[in-house]
Amino acid sequence: MSEETGFRAEDEGPRAWRTRAEAALAEGRPLDARAALTRLWELDPTSATAGFVVARFTSIRASLSLVPCRVYVLRSFTVEPAIPLLRAMAFAAGVDLAVGLGEFNVFEQAILDPASALHAFQPDVVIVASQTRDVAPALWSRFADLTAAEVAAEIAAASDRLASWVRELRCRTAASIVVHGLEPPERAALGLLEGSSESGQIDAIRRVNRAIVDAVRACRGAYALDTDALVARRGRDGWYDPKKWATVRMPIVAAELVHLAREWMRFLHPLTGRVAKVLVCDLDQTLWGGVVGEDGANGVRIGHDHPGAAYLDLQRAILDVARRGVVLAICSKNNHADAMEVFAKRSEMLLQPDDFAAIRVNWIDKAENLRSIARELDVGLDALAFLDDNPVERQSVRMQLPEVWVVDLPADPARYARTLRDQPIFERLVTSSEDRDRGRHYEGERKRAELESSARSVEDFYASLEQRVAVEPANAQSIARIAQLTQKTNQFNVTTRRYTEQAIEELARSADHDVLSIRVRDRFGDSGLVGVAVVEYRGDEAAIDALLLSCRVIGRSVETALLSALVDRARARGKGSIVGRFIPTAKNAPARAFFASHGFACTHDDPDGASEWRLPPSQRVPYPAWITPDPAPGET
């Protein structure tokens, strides 16, 4: 929408955005069409609009850089009408989704037969959507007839069956697995007695759900979808459509289907890496009520009573998201001193300046500030989420920086916290200790920057950091973090290959591969596991399939330590030649010179820009003198 003037479009309805999308498509402006379709979908997430959005996105998908993802749904009910909703939602989130559906109630055959349609589809994600009435029919339809022993037997049978699906899927596919929990009935068979009986119907179904949770916890890359919580959130009485179930095996009311699709999308955001890494918050009317420039620090609304309570709730929600590893920043039009006075004077404030990795309190355009925050934190614009109560600011950012995730806060501050908690861009399926400590990392980073500016030379600076690093092969504790790093590292990444936890686990077991990780700590703190290399040994060569470094530690020669250890290991295995590949992307320029600067010679240039590099057999990569090796735990 870059050619549009003014921000009136915010007040326009879906029809206007539809017209804009059509115009942009007709005039061959796919990026503007994408922005218009995305906004249309946000404003009117209905089945009809989904059809329109999917058809139009499909016509321009080739000119957009979307993340491809293949989802296969094993199911016991009709999910077809939810698929256009899911695909439209995914397109709007930058994901090009291919969806395959299993036959009704075909689970074991699909999972166990390597030639089944499920395996032929080669899914990235498998969703297992079964219902209580199908996998625990006795618990569902004749619970009142059952003895306690029969109830226990039914629980065990359903639990074993569901757990075996998870286990067998894990052995037979590298896909991520999302398993629907079972739903309790609308009305318990025992009536009031349900509440006071030793094992009622709802309790029995919860026990099966507990078994599903245990099963997914025992497997990598498997997750449970809490159907009961989803239905409860929407309201059980308005969720089910018994007539549609009896006619077309579609149990859910038409208007609720979008919420099933949303629940799936909550998993697909983190599974496809389409998540926000930084949450940039406005201050006035967002973190507190009122305008500090007018009301003063003592006059703004924040606290446990109305109207300040809504803002306190939002601060709590922001902190919860930060604990998952989302970095916080401030972008506010204010006088810096006024804003800081609120943090200093108002003891009710949950968030403190130290919680924010970057702070922009000034009168500069917010889009400009967002650009500078992305630069300071060394992330792409598509890693930023923007939280602001002002629809004009939101629309301005949307138009100037379409990559930024803009959170649409509702008019009522009492709904702010819920809106933030509902954003799938802040969902994480694993969190590491690195995520929880991210706030502290940025504090260390500021001190490192001060040190760097006072150092006489780069080597001096490196030495003064007193870095200690540990290079070690992947192990059970590090696999999740290693996979996470491969999925989200864009800048210092020579091949940008993404690996699931399952794939890393397999490579770590393989005799022909090494998966190496590097941990870094220095005088300012422990950065944790921040680098990964995947090496394939073939013939007398070692080929570097992946080598990447978190942006936390770029520019401290940590990559040299990792490469040096990698080369030594390869040579110890008798591999003379070390081969590296560089595959350029829009973001990995920081890794471009990596091989050349470590003595590799370019042996091949592909027409598509990729290049192959070789380290001659006689050559080593010297370990940086200013880095002390940590003895790797578990290795003696």
Partner: protein, 79 residues
């Protein structure tokens, strides 16, 4: 009122099928559109229920095979 519902229904059917509304008339029937298969028919029903806030009776679903027939059922709910 009638023409408004007819226009909305035409738009919904076109959107679900991924075609232009101008290619549909009240007489357009599912037989003439390969994309209008049983899955898309169900999707059209769900889109109508969602948009108009109605519950279409199972008996009506099979009858609604032309745009005009769909309009008639939707109007029945409106009255």
């Amino acid at each position: 009122m009638t023409s408004r519902i007819a226009a909305d229904v035409t738009q919904i059917v076109a959107d679900v099928l991924g075609i232009a509304p101008s290619s549909l008339t009240l007489a357009s029937s599912s037989d003439a559109f390969p994309a209008w298969d049983s899955v898309h028919h169900l999707n059209i029903m769900m889109a109508l229920e969602e948009r108009f806030g109605i519950a279409i009776e199972p008996e009506d679903i099979e009858r609604m095979r032309t745009v005009g027939a769909i309009v008639a059922v939707v109007e029945k709910h409106g009255s």
